[in-house]
């Protein structure tokens, strides 16, 4: 595998090399290496620095890569501040799903399908090989600014053992919301016979957090609803939106005590300890939830993964893609693109998926057989998830004010989930605030 990777990498490098002078300046040379810098989420920056960079340097030995890890909450502001400065530090920004419009609006991003970059792009890179949904995360107003590097989707995790204990068949991707709620009461159960309930049907995001509304949004999208209309105004304060929010709130009836203050960490903890039968969360936690005994009590045989339940329009899966974008003021744009291109190439993606367990975005990777057996059901869920996400536009709002919109939704959805106000009032308030914001 490594030999294949190196040969392919050298082939890409050779195709991109062109005249010897360009090679020496753009991609470094013996004795005069190029150094590129990247700002990324601290959650994976270290892993990339320690494992991905050495692998990349097997192909591009004269490109040094320095990755700065920044906490998620500060990443956008720091990236913006640096990118818009006269002399930016970072050549590459790793941007979360909704950030491309905000970064692109400032005019600092390089068009990766433009003439300049096209000259550095290997023919076998094949843009069309990417699923449309993950690639669209870094597209804005018809320009492709990034490539998907760490793909993710909101998916449904299933503890098959708890379904079996409740005498229920393990769910399939055809499970509807009606069927989910029919089965939910039986999944709130006493598993050890001591007379106390010790397992619940579901846990997910309920606390006040910008990611909590993604659950409601996915339910709404799978029932044909949309966040914003064609006119760019709020389109969710209607029957479909209200019903979706009430569905989200109804999940609390079958969730562990205190779940209204649960978010990513708490729901993950509950699922990994075998206390909940289902969990709606980001698929990327699958390895730590089903495979790694250091972080979970469950085994791959016990854990299922699939798209979220089916609504009136389709199943659900909310997109969350980390994309790599390049600052157009970068003096090392060619080297920066060499890194992004390698990491998102068929070879790089396969290496990342097999070695780091990172989810791919290419059809060719997802159609291949993963090296780890546990990845096979994940690949199936991702393929279906990308399709439904594309079909139902299941992503956060595509606007330069995306984070502000998401914060408003977090405020109002949380008020509804905690019972402070009714779902209709919450969505009406959110709609009015968002329309004012986007006006």
């Amino acid at each position: 595998m490594k030999i294949t990777l190196q040969v392919s990498g050298i082939a890409i490098a050779a195709v991109m090399a062109g005249p010897a002078a360009v090679w020496a300046q753009g991609l470094g040379a013996e004795g005069s290496p190029v150094e590129i810098t990247m700002i990324a989420n601290e959650a994976f920056a270290n892993q990339w620095q320690e494992q991905m960079v050495p692998e990349f340097q097997k192909v591009y030995p004269h490109i040094n890569v320095v990755i700065d890890g920044v906490p998620y909450t500060e990443l956008l502001a720091k990236s913006m501040l640096d990118a818009t400065g006269p002399d930016p530090v970072y050549d590459i920004i790793i941007a979360d799903d909704p950030w491309t419009p905000q970064l692109a609006q400032t005019g600092v991003l390089l068009d990766l399908k433009g003439e300049q970059v096209a000259g550095w792009t290997a023919p076998e890179f094949e843009w069309d090989d990417f699923y449309a949904a993950p690639l669209a995360a870094s597209e804005w107003q018809g320009v492709q600014y990034g490539v998907p590097l760490r793909s993710n989707l909101l998916l449904m995790f299933v503890n098959k053992s708890l379904y079996e204990k409740a005498g229920l068949p393990a769910p399939t991707p055809e499970l509807t919301w009606e069927q989910f709620f029919e089965q939910a009461p039986q999944l709130v159960q006493d598993t050890n016979g001591d007379g106390k309930v010790d397992a619940w049907a579901v846990d997910t995001y309920f606390l006040r957090d910008p990611l909590t509304p993604t659950i409601w949004q996915t339910i709404m999208n799978s029932n044909g609803g949309a966040l914003l209309g064609e006119d760019g105004k709020a389109a969710f304060n209607n029957e479909t939106g209200v019903a979706a929010l009430e569905t989200h709130k109804r999940l609390l009836e079958f969730a562990p005590p205190g779940a209204v203050s649960h978010g990513f960490n708490e729901s993950l903890q509950a699922f990994r300890q075998g206390q909940v039968a289902t969990m709606f969360t980001w698929g990327s936690v699958f390895k730590g939830t089903a495979v790694d005994p250091a972080t979970t009590t469950l085994t791959p045989e016990q854990v299922g993964i699939q798209v979220m339940p089916v609504g009136s329009a389709s199943a659900g899966a909310h997109r969350g893609i980390w994309s790599g974008v390049i600052n157009n003021k970068s003096e090392n744009a060619e080297a920066a693109w060499a890194l992004l291109q390698w990491l998102s190439s068929k070879e790089g993606e396969a290496w990342q998926s097999n070695t780091l367990g990172v989810f791919p975005a290419r059809r060719s990777t997802l159609d291949s057989t993963p090296e780890s057996e546990w990845m096979a059901p994940v690949f199936e869920a991702l393929k279906q998830g990308y399709e439904v996400a594309e079909q139902g536009q299941m992503w956060r709002p595509r606007t330069p004010k995306s984070d502000a919109v998401q914060q408003v939704l977090a405020d109002e959805v949380s008020r509804a989930l905690s019972g402070q106000i009714a779902a209709q009032e919450a969505l009406d308030t959110a709609a009015s605030r968002i329309d004012r914001l986007l006006d």
């Binding site: 909450t73 956008l76 400032t106 606390l207 209204v260 203050s261 708490e266 984070d403 502000a404 914060q407």
Partner: protein, 309 residues
């Protein structure tokens, strides 16, 4: 002779004036570095905040581009979230400050007797204060979790139910007050203990001779003598409490709903998550002005209290 005297006086005056000038220069040469640093780290951010609160901020350059007058202030006047966060902060302050003051001075009074190990206990009081607020919030969040937390496990043993400390909108505010009280009451205790130990003993001995009981001594001697300290401690705690942010962020994130969304968290979210820096600057200015007014009122009240005792 008179001429000589006069010229001698003028020379002395010139010498004195030169000495004064030299003294002034030497004083300022010592003060200037500190003054410049203070201006840079304190005055500049405040002035910049004022500037962008009256401007529209270009995110491409992070600079104020256009003077918009009071537009940002008008915007926040209609922002329900901002006024709710002010209300939430008011509720938090109204509960947390009196509880911490009463508990702090009360505990200090009760432990203000000579006993072996008093110094060690006093040192232990420092622990909550040195724990980082984010860590404190996270630990309390774990302890109060209805599913895994030891607090509810203990309450369950006593048959006291399973309260949802962080999920119930009313209880969540109480939880924030409890965590903040755990963290800051020891600070009040330490100040109060030092103040109690410094009280003049002869006054109490005279009261003992006069046959005063403990209540009379407390009400008529201890409290009046402590009034300046109580007032000063209150102002210090007020200035600390009004900045409440990290404990809320770590424990409830402002929820459930908006039950614990204090104003500093709201401003932070609007600035760094929603990138509404100009509006956030306007909110920060409003909070700054209100805090200064209230602090001024508290200081005036403190002086009056000191005079009346």
């Amino acid at each position: 002779m008179a001429v000589t005297d006069h010229s001698e006086g003028a020379r002395q005056a010139r010498t004195r004036s030169g000495r004064d000038w030299s003294d002034l220069v030497s004083r300022w040469s010592f003060m200037l570095p500190a003054a410049i640093i203070l201006a840079a780290v304190l005055a500049y951010p405040i002035l910049y905040t004022f500037q962008i609160s009256f401007a529209s901020l270009d995110l491409a350059t992070f600079t104020a581009t256009e003077w918009v007058g009071f537009e940002n202030y008008r915007e926040i006047l209609g922002d329900r979230g901002f006024w709710n966060s002010m209300k939430v902060t008011g509720i938090y302050l109204a509960w947390a400050l009196p509880i911490q003051m009463i508990l702090g001075f009360g505990i200090a009074y009760l432990i203000n007797v000579e006993w072996k190990g008093r110094s060690a206990v006093r040192a232990l009081f420092l622990i909550p204060m040195v724990v980082a607020p984010v860590v404190a919030g996270g630990i309390w969040r774990m302890m109060l979790d209805p599913l895994w937390g030891m607090v509810n496990w203990f309450l369950g043993l006593l048959g006291l139910g399973n309260p949802d400390w962080l999920g119930d909108p009313n209880l969540a505010m109480a939880t924030i007050v409890i965590i903040d009280t755990w963290r800051w009451t020891p600070f009040v205790i330490l100040i109060a203990t030092a103040a109690l130990m410094a009280l003049p003993k002869d006054v109490f001995e005279a009261a003992d001779i006069d046959g005063a009981n403990w209540w009379t001594k407390l009400w008529s001697i201890t409290i009046p003598l402590l009034v300046p300290i109580i007032a000063a401690t209150f102002v210090v705690r007020w200035l600390g409490a009004v900045k409440m942010f990290d404990i809320v962020l770590a424990s409830t994130r402002g929820g459930p709903g908006d039950a614990t969304n204090v104003v500093n968290l709201y401003i932070y979210e609007q600035a760094f998550r929603s990138l509404r820096f100009a509006e956030s600057a306007a909110m920060a200015v409003v909070v700054l002005v209100l805090t200064m007014i209230l602090t001024g009122l508290f200081l005036i009240g403190t002086r009056r209290l000191e005079r009346s005792y």
